[in-house]
């Protein structure tokens, strides 16, 4: 198995995932599960075949890391859909997996482009994947919160429970991402926390979401205040993700600004 075959496997997988996402919107849960699982199996076949050909785990090049993102996002998306039936989840995971697979199709020169040594770590891929999932869950929570803040409605219990649930899941993923990052940093640099601007903003974002969770327990009747907290937390999340590239305090001091 070589990269020459990737196009056929990728297109087949994307087709199956897209069908799975469509079935999810039409509430055909079994078909949604079946198509998504088949798509993931096809993709996994390619990865395993490549692994066999290379005679090493495919973790070292930019193309190889994108393979894992494209594989795990629909797989975890399927697990989340299976557990909580969020119809949008499979669409999101399909879209994102397709982006990574398409980049690999359009940029064959990246297949063998090795990652810089610091990124050649088993912690890299899981760290990025859980953060992508966290951003997805918290992004949807923000959309729901924005809608509720502008909708003139009495206490929207169901949608508030949805916000709470998405936030709780998102915070759990943020926690996993931070821990994986800390362990990776200790392995690579000797320090799990150096108060780098990226780390500060990650802790800040995490803390604001924790504030939301605790505030919801304390004062469930003040749901508008809580939803405002969600919006503030999402702004912090964006700064953590890409905003620090523009922060004067981070540009010269952060190892996460490239």
């Amino acid at each position: 198995m070589t990269w020459d075959s990737f196009l056929y496997f990728a297109l087949s997988s994307i087709f199956c995932w897209a069908l799975g996402a469509l079935m999810a919107w039409r509430s055909h849960r079994r078909m949604a599960h079946l198509f998504t699982a088949v798509g993931s199996c096809i993709f996994l076949l390619f990865i395993l075949g490549l692994w066999h050909t290379l005679e090493r785990p495919p973790f070292r090049t930019m193309g190889e890391t994108r393979l894992w993102y494209a594989f795990f996002l629909p797989a975890i998306g399927l697990a989340i859909y299976s557990r909580w039936h969020y119809r949008w989840m499979l669409t999101f995971s399909t879209l994102l997996a397709s982006v990574f697979a398409t980049i690999n199709i359009l940029h064959p020169e990246m297949h063998d482009k090795w990652l810089m040594p610091a990124l050649q770590s088993p912690w890299f891929i899981p760290h990025v994947i859980v953060y992508i999932l966290a951003y997805a869950l918290l992004g949807v929570a923000t959309i729901v919160a924005t809608y509720l803040l502008f909708a003139r409605t009495s206490t929207p219990h169901n949608k508030l429970r949805l916000c709470d649930h998405l936030t709780a899941l998102g915070v759990a993923c943020l926690t996993l991402g931070m821990l994986l990052g800390a362990v990776w940093a200790k392995d690579a640099w000797g320090h799990y926390w150096t108060w780098d601007p990226k780390e500060i903003w990650a802790a800040l974002t995490w803390s604001i979401y924790l504030l939301y969770i605790h505030f919801r327990h304390y004062a469930p009747q003040h749901w508008r205040t809580a939803l405002l907290l969600l919006l503030i937390a999402f702004v912090a999340l964006q700064i953590c993700w890409w905003g620090i590239n523009y922060l004067p305090s981070a540009i010269t001091t952060s190892v996460h600004v490239y």
């Binding site: 909580w84 949608k159 949805l162 899941l169 926690t175 392995d187 000797g190 601007p197 803390s207 304390y218």
Partner: protein, 298 residues
């Protein structure tokens, strides 16, 4: 206003008071010196902290202030002030190791008493809540218990352990055993092991230079052994971890020596215990979280 039970308003005012006390402390005694609680003082601090929490928990019925400190309004207020301080940290370039005439206090936030007091407040709340959840254990609260306990270990061990953390630089010439390293204050430190640089293997792997150091390690209590040190592949020697730093070329443009960073972190196992508990709490909360609504089509 100050009648018990205190609510969020009182909590926020209390937090303002904490910041004020921290500022006064800063003016009175100067910056926080983490090295002042090097072992065994940090261990005594940990014992004293847990003893205080346990004692106050036992006496909570008698003291309304204790009940307040461990309450949700207190937690919300503590989180609010932690967020405020973190936000300031996020927009000011932190320079913990370099002080100049232009350095502002906010650029060395971890040396501010206000910062330490707010996080000590959070640690107290987390410890108290953990104790309460252990005392009134319910399986449904297991994710929360694990998360709180994990946070306590991770925060506590990393804060107290930072006093014992040593980051040393060791310069090794090829073929010559070396046991002396240098700390950030340029003080010589004798290591409990000998490191001999046998060779530096330089390769270019797909456009990236890769350096691997072949070393031999000798200790008093164990036979010598060979190992390789490269980026992402440090070497563990007891509580020491040896990282590749850089190699130095000689006249023939071949590496004749190498620099290593050696990190001594005896509290790491406790921090990792905290990480493990946090991880378990996060995974359990994902698995156990439940939300089903047929009326919310999303």
């Amino acid at each position: 206003m100050w009648q018990s039970p205190w609510k969020l308003r009182q909590g926020l005012l209390f937090g303002f008071g904490v910041l004020l006390v921290g500022t006064l402390l800063q003016l009175a005694v100067g910056a926080v010196s983490w090295t002042a609680i090097a072992y065994p003082r940090n261990l005594f601090c940990a014992i004293a902290f847990f003893s205080l929490v346990a004692t106050l928990y036992a006496l909570r019925a008698r003291f309304p202030f204790v009940r307040f400190i461990a309450s949700l309004p207190s937690a919300l207020s503590a989180l609010f002030y932690a967020i405020l301080l973190l936000a300031i940290m996020g927009i000011t370039a932190q320079t913990p190791d370099a002080t100049t005439a232009e350095t502002t206090p906010f650029q060395q936030m971890t040396a501010l008493w206000a910062f330490v007091l707010v996080f000590a407040w959070i640690a107290f709340i987390v410890a108290f809540v953990t104790l309460r959840q252990l005392h009134h254990f319910r399986i449904q609260k297991l994710p929360s218990l694990l998360s709180h306990l994990g946070l306590l270990f991770a925060l506590g061990a990393s804060a107290l352990g930072s006093a014992d953390l040593q980051r040393l630089q060791l310069h090794a010439e090829r073929g010559r055993p070396e046991w002396r390293a240098v700390n950030s204050r340029d003080e010589a430190i004798d290591l409990p092991f000998l490191l001999r640089l046998d060779s530096v293997i330089e390769s270019t792997n797909k456009g990236f230079p890769q350096q691997t150091n072949a070393v031999t390690i000798s200790t008093k209590d164990a036979p010598s052994f060979s190992a390789r040190i490269a980026i992402n592949h440090p070497l563990d020697i007891g509580a020491y971890k040896v990282y590749h730093s850089q190699s130095v070329k000689g006249n023939q443009h071949l590496p004749t020596s190498a620099r290593f960073e050696i990190v001594y972190d005896p509290w790491q196992p406790f921090v990792y215990l905290g990480f493990g508990l946090l991880l378990a709490g996060a995974i359990l909360s994902i698995v156990k979280a439940g939300f089903h609504s047929s009326s919310t089509k999303l």
